[in-house]
Amino acid sequence: MPGEPYNPSPIGNPSVLARRNWWQTMFVKFIGKHTPKCHEMVRILSQSMDEPMPLMTRIKKRLHFLICCWCQRYEEQLHYIHETARQFPEHAGEVSNVPFPPDVKERIKQKLADQIR
């Protein structure tokens, strides 16, 4: 878009603030200027899954979400992935049909019996 700065939150964007009137346009420009860009925000969102973030970063994140429903979705989806990945191991039996070799089964049973004796 040569000439005009990129509009992060055009009309029709499903985010909370979307330049529907003069006030919203001012807000969108202000937030767009003072919070990390999406490209940086996704990195921060991932890092916040692993360690607590400073208060200022968390406030900026909230403000950014007002003009960007995509980053908000991204965060929700990271949480979803976190929750489901945690449960993956218990469902590991369902994801492949690699057989557990019967001889290994027997060998382990024998080892267990020896241990218990």
């Binding site: 700065p5 990129y6 992060p8 055009p10 964007n13 767009g32 860009k37 999406c38 490209h39 940086e40 996704v42 990195r43 991932s46 890092q47 899954m49 692993d50 360690e51 960007c68 995509w70 980053c71 979705r73 991204y74 929700e76 989806q77 990271l78 979803y80 992935i81 976190h82 489901t84 990945a85 945690r86 449960q87 993956f88 191991p89 218990e90 469902h91 590991a92 039996g93 369902e94 994801v95 492949s96 690699v98 057989p99 557990f100 070799p101 290994v104 089964k105 060998r107 382990i108 049973k109 080892k111 267990l112 019996a113 241990q115 218990i116 004796r117």
Partner: protein
């Protein structure tokens, strides 16, 4: 018989009152010295239980170990170590969780120990994957390209959790990640190892870890969206 043992353990922990009421049952009173008969009974119990674990959970444990370590002989050893540890720690298992989650929990620890032993052999060479900034997803000033940004997911948590197809899509998506990146991601998200500990185990820096986790999450998110949430099975369409 096993059910009786676990129930009594729970009763002991949950309510002293009940334990007193049930004190005529020898199993509900751990302070009471065990006679030869009791010991023989419990040995029989554990032996029966451990053999049942191999039949009921062996396959799940083996397949998860295989996803993680990729070598069948290593996976077999891990399953064996897990079950031996389970036998040793059987007394401590109070039936607070399902047998499956208890055994998987032990296996997770064994897998982390395995990586700890490998530790310094790990090197990170997947630079191509790590330098991929997914730049086509963003416009040049750094905002999402609105046409390519994350779609709305409509997960049906309880249902999805039990759908075999979802877990298969997740496995396929994981297998597309470069090996080392996948190791880091699975250790963090599936085994729940704190990030500081992963850095110590794999001898990598914090920032290296964050880059890898970020790329893994981004790639996995993208893959799940394309192969699950944007398909009729995933519910978005």
């Amino acid at each position: 018989m096993l059910a009786v043992v676990s129930t009594c353990h729970v009763a002991n922990r949950a309510s002293n009152k009940r334990a007193v009421n049930e004190s005529d049952s020898f199993l509900s009173d751990p302070a009471r010295p065990r006679g030869d008969h009791d010991t023989a009974m419990s040995t029989l119990n554990i032996r029966a239980a451990s053999s049942r674990w191999v039949d009921d959970h062996g396959e799940c444990l083996y397949r998860y170990a295989l996803v993680r370590v990729r070598k069948p002989e290593v996976a077999e050893d891990l399953v064996q170590e897990t079950l031996l540890a389970a036998v040793r720690g059987y007394e401590k298992f109070g039936g607070r969780s399902s047998e499956r989650s208890w055994l998987v929990g032990i296996l997770k620890n064994k897998i982390v120990d395995h990586f700890r032993k490998l530790g310094r052999e790990t090197s990170f060479t997947d630079m191509e994957f790590l330098s991929d900034e997914f730049s086509e997803k963003f416009v040049s000033v750094g905002f999402w390209n609105h046409d390519l940004g994350p779609h709305e997911w409509r997960p049906e948590p309880d249902e999805v959790m039990h759908r075999v197809e979802f877990w298969q899509v997740m496995r396929d998506c994981l297998s597309k990640l470069p090996e080392k990146v996948r190791d880091v991601f699975t250790m963090r998200e599936m085994d729940g190892v704190p990030s500081k500990e992963i850095c110590a185990i794999l001898s990598i820096t914090d920032s290296n870890l964050w880059v890898m986790l970020h790329r893994a999450r981004m790639a996995l998110r993208e893959c799940l969206e394309m192969n699950w949430f944007d398909t009729p099975a995933g519910g978005t369409v």
